[in-house]
Symmetry: C2
Subunit: 312 residues, 2 copies
């Protein structure tokens, strides 16, 4: 059985043909203009899908297209209800639109939930039953797996774990509240803080890099740059406090990290693990929550979207 | 079918015989000394249970005893693993102990989870499938119902929703972290804050009451006392921000409030509802989360504990 798994993002759409045994066959991608109309963007996506499939010998084996879509969705009706970064999409029936133009069954799922489902079924999560996945990218996305089932709340509007505050009256978040985890732990937030601190501290090693971002601040911190150490320590603290909240609320077996900042790999895992292991509720008496990096990286969402068509 | 449901607290143990149709037949209770050994406390509890049942005509219909126990439990082995307010209990096999002395099957569940289960099956939650219950008492307890099933995390150590921070580096919490919701939204926290503010403001109406606590500060606030209004406004803000976190994480159909502060009833519901309805994630496009008071009050835990023996 083969399905297409498509991850729809603010700057690009990336997809793959994936077999139900976890084999990823071929990739395709196209750029996305988030200010274009949804009709325009998804028309181009359908064209790309049709072109991609045209010469594939497994074309007739494709059982459907799974779409990972940012925002709050009505999965039953196939409608994008609310996509904060793509305001023109609100109310658009993406399932009808894509089914008509590809002549294939289409299912949708929130993009972060999709990534969690992918990791749970084909990645780092496959030997665990209760998983929280946190994507540290443009925002902080979340996916919740409870007893091997995706949980995304009433009408799929839950699992917005990045939009839980860790600091009342703290940094302004895009959702309207102040102090959300997203405003501290996203790659965007780390990037912004790094650039601000680099400007404030002209002597910092950060200013020797051709570009300054998440990767550079971790690198400079490991090299002993005091400004970078401060930025990274603060980042680890906020991220870990958010993770501790999820440990206490869910007590999952594992918390998976993905997204841009997760490229820091084992260093990030070690720092967070060190922070949380002495601070979680009843820590000496509670089962340890493992921190791991998602193995599928940016492919997790494609796997999760495709898996909407696979049997468990 | 009849089971005993027992709610074990820090100052008293209260139980009832409950039929599986929701009829509460009879109550019993006994005082608890949390500094006594678990052998002593639970020996007395077993004596009380045996005395309670002695002359009941339904004695032989009792199918088991459900115990709602504060702390982290090993439900399979029947052991209290960690009970922060009753340190002598750690490691005690309460199920074996009580089974031996009552000659009845015994099951255990965390007390807050037990209350949530009771409300879900017999109270305000019975027409909902996804429920978060928050008990605003000595601490802030939590119970999570997902698709009609209790969720309490790996080894039952989850659902500690009071131990999620809302203010990094905030008030010291009993769990060791700083800024947990419990440190702001528990009856204990409100009581403490009320008394501190009453001392600071000798002119406050609060000082006219014979005793000063949660009930009085809400009462004085409704009468226009500026000090009390400030305390209540702050309380509503912290509680509501915590509730918003759970709205965004779980997007349940309903959040139930219980415990001492929930005695404020509709006034509390209205204040929280007003606060959250314009602040939850994607609020115009997300299903509303209802705020309600648990109908079973202090009996919720007994219902939940008894229901461990009832078929769904």
């Amino acid at each position: 059985m083969i399905a297409l798994g498509v991850d729809i993002g603010g700057t690009s759409i990336k997809g793959a043909a994936i077999k139900d045994d976890g084999t990823l066959l071929d990739y395709f991608s196209l750029p996305m203009d988030k200010y274009a109309s949804p009709e325009m963007s998804f028309f181009e996506m359908c064209e790309a899908i049709n072109n991609f499939l045209k010469d594939k010998d497994y074309k007739d084996e494709i059982v459907g297209i799974g779409l990972g879509v940012p925002g709050i969705l009505d999965k039953e009706k196939g409608i994008i209800k609310y996509s904060p970064n793509m305001p023109l999409w609100d109310g658009f029936n993406i399932v009808d639109f894509v089914q008509k133009r590809t002549h294939l069954p289409v299912k949708i799922l929130n993009d972060a939930s999709s990534a969690a489902l992918g990791e749970a079924r084909f990645g780092t999560g496959k030997n665990f039953h209760n998983i929280i996945m946190i994507t540290l990218g443009t925002g902080v996305g979340g996916g919740i797996i409870i007893e091997d089932e995706l949980f995304d709340g009433n009408e799929g509007a839950g699992a917005q774990i990045g939009h839980s505050i860790v600091e009342l009256n703290g940094r302004q978040c895009s959702c309207g509240r102040k102090g959300c985890l997203e405003a501290y732990a996203s790659a965007t937030a780390l990037n912004k803080e790094t650039n601000e601190q680099a400007k404030k501290h002209p002597e910092s090693l950060l200013n020797k890099y051709p570009g300054i971002g998440c990767k550079e601040v971790f690198d400079a911190a490991r090299k002993g740059d005091p400004t970078s150490i401060k930025v990274v320590d603060e980042y680890i603290k906020y991220l870990s406090e958010g993770i501790l909240n999820f440990c206490n609320i869910f007590r999952p077996e594992v918390i998976l990290l993905s997204g841009g900042v997760a490229n820091e790999g084992q260093y990030l895992v070690d720092r967070v693990t060190e922070y949380i292991k002495v601070r979680d509720y009843g820590y000496k008496h509670s089962p340890e929550v493992l921190i791991k990096i998602g193995a599928l990286g940016y492919d997790a969402g494609k796997y999760g979207a495709a898996s909407l068509f696979f049997k468990k």
